[in-house]
């Protein structure tokens, strides 16, 4: 099944025409409504009329996460708050959140895109789908929810945190689909196994995203649960989940490119690369009203193809991600930058600025351990004192990144001091 055959299967020429028309409109729109872009274009001596088609996109400036942070909270919004009906936010590099706003039409487009993705994953109005992404500022929960409702599926808004309830309802409600992070689904499969419920579920499809995962992990999920698992991609800056998803042939993720124009850029020159060549993914939000972004650099490494897929869709496909351009980590679906940890630790006078993050996956759940050294006079001879310190640091970290971390106090002078770029992360997971 294809949700929107007109858009998902249009010829390449038609698509380019549509993208060209939308880009011209977008550039005109941001020039007149977003000071940030107007100034950038003026600096380059550009006028909206210089953009005559999608091929001119390379003349336009890039946008980065820093730009969103520098214009915190609403500086890049193109409409007044009276037109914004929803705010989402994700963690930024220095503790300040990246804030995005949606107009009513943006939410409609979002639901449309998620509906396309879920249809790719075989979900229809006859399905009962459990949405087990977090509901809240994170785009995962409400994003998946909107798309599933649009399809007309029976949506069970589980959110995260209660696996027992999730598995019970999966059986009792006869859930046929689930949307959650792949690592959480793997954990759920273990809970089902322990409870002897594996042969009582009716699950057939999973829409997994919000963190990188491998083909091997997909195969494992599919075998354990007798389902097909699909990779849904998105980022809050662009919209949230639903920017792209893979169909049953699993040969790359179909981008909703009538709404999000994808470019893959050479990481050194930032010029677009040929199809099949690895580079940094960038998106231009062709139809967004609330916070339209031009050539937003995702920092995700991938390659692109424009060949027609066996499923009949003609939309561009991006390959599974091969890594990140920056040092961002995705832990339990949450974006974490080492610099956030560093900034948080600087607030704690009892610890030195040296730290090491150990990221691992235990029983299919991401774990984060942070090793710190105490300033010498704060080592105590009481276990209670060390425990109180651990708790205090844990609290500060939790406040900063929204994740609980295990804090390990180590002996002084034992964390690696490196010259030049310090290594602060040991990631034992094999995600790419």
């Amino acid at each position: 099944m294809i949700w929107n055959e007109t858009k998902e299967c249009m010829s390449r020429d038609e698509m380019l025409n549509l993208q060209s028309a939308r880009l011209k409109k977008l550039v005109d729109y941001v020039y007149h409504n977003v000071e940030f872009y107007r100034k950038k274009m003026q600096k380059l001596g550009m006028l909206p009329s210089d953009i005559k088609g999608i091929e001119d996109i390379t003349k336009l400036p890039f946008t980065t996460k820093d730009d969103l942070r520098d214009n915190y909270p609403f500086g890049l919004f193109a409409v007044p708050n009276s037109e914004i009906v929803r705010i989402h936010a994700s963690s930024g590099t220095t503790g300040k959140a990246t804030v995005v706003g949606y107009t009513r039409r943006d939410l409609d487009v979002w639901s449309e895109c998620v509906a396309r993705c879920m249809t790719m994953a075989g979900v229809s109005k006859n399905d009962v789908i459990q949405v087990a992404y977090g509901y809240g500022l994170f785009t995962g929960g409400l994003g998946a929810h909107g798309g599933a409702e649009k399809i007309g599926a029976t949506v069970v808004p589980m959110s995260t945190g209660n696996s027992k309830k999730l598995t019970t309802m999966m059986v009792d409600f006869g859930a046929t689909a689930i949307a959650c992070t792949p690592s959480y689904l793997l954990y759920i499969s273990e809970v089902l196994e322990q409870e002897g419920l594996l042969d009582k579920i009716k699950l057939k499809s999973a829409i997994c995203g919000a963190e990188p995962w491998t083909e091997k992990m997909r195969e494992e999920l599919e075998t354990r649960l007798h389902i097909t698992a699909h990779d849904i991609y998105g980022l809050s800056e662009i919209m949230g989940p639903g920017v792209a998803c893979d169909c049953k042939f699993h040969k790359g993720l179909h981008v909703c490119e009538d709404h999000f124009y994808p470019e893959v850029l050479d990481t050194a020159t930032l010029t677009p690369v040929e199809d099949g060549v690895l580079g940094e993914l960038a998106f231009t939000t062709l139809t967004k009203e609330g916070i339209p972004l031009i050539r937003y650099r995702t920092k995700d490494l991938t390659s692109i193809t424009h060949e027609k897929c066996e499923c009949g869709r003609t939309s561009a496909r991006i390959s599974r991600f091969k890594g990140r351009v920056d040092d961002m980590l995705i832990i339990r679906g949450v974006n974490v930058f080492p610099s956030q940890i560093e900034a948080a630790l600087c607030e704690v006078k009892e610890v030195t600025p040296h730290y090491m993050m150990i990221v691992d996956r235990v029983n299919n759940l991401d774990t984060l351990e942070i090793q710190v050294e105490l300033v010498s006079e704060y080592y105590t001879d009481e276990i209670r004192g060390i425990e109180a310190m651990t708790k205090k640091i844990g609290h500060v970290i939790n406040q900063a990144i929204g994740l609980s971390a295990k804090i390990k106090i180590v002996e002084p002078q034992t964390l690696v001091r490196s010259e030049g770029k310090a290594v602060h992360v040991i990631d034992k997971r094999k995600l790419y």
Partner: protein
């Protein structure tokens, strides 16, 4: 009367304890008593030594986090129930014992190391009840 206890924070890593002991041995620091409180992650080694200041200095320069803290060394009769009685006194005075460990046992007396939540008050209570604490000088002679 309080004495100095030398304590060291050590991670639960193989060989770490013996490295501490190496440093003490090389510098002729003699251990009179020790207690090791351990958790899964780390341990706190508490030592009564003949020269705590020297021990701390040498351990610190070897990269260990060592510190000196005040503890009391009490002399109690070496008979059943004397420790229990001692704790009763402390409990009645509403003082908490942070930790405690044995130092040595002689024919008639036993010595215990005590760290309480309130050193001044503990001392008063002990004095009032005729419990002897020994001085660092006496400790050296033991």
């Amino acid at each position: 009367m309080t004495s100095k206890q030398l304590s060291v924070f050590i991670e639960n890593r193989k060989g770490r304890l013996s490295e501490v002991l190496d440093v003490l041995k090389e510098n002729g620091v003699n251990i009179l008593s020790m207690s090791l409180a351990d958790t899964t992650e780390y341990g706190l080694l508490r030592l009564i030594v003949n020269d705590p200041a020297l021990g701390k200095e040498k351990l610190s320069s070897a990269g260990f986090s060592s510190l000196l803290s005040d503890v009391m060394i009490l002399k109690i009769p070496h008979v059943s129930g004397s420790l229990q009685q001692l704790l009763k006194l402390i409990e009645k005075a509403d003082i908490n014992v942070e930790y405690m460990y044995g130092l040595s046992i002689e024919k008639a007396e036993a010595y215990v190391v005590l760290k309480s939540s309130n050193a001044v008050k503990t001392e008063e209570v002990l004095k009032a009840n005729g419990v002897e604490t020994i001085s660092p000088d006496e400790l050296m002679k033991m």
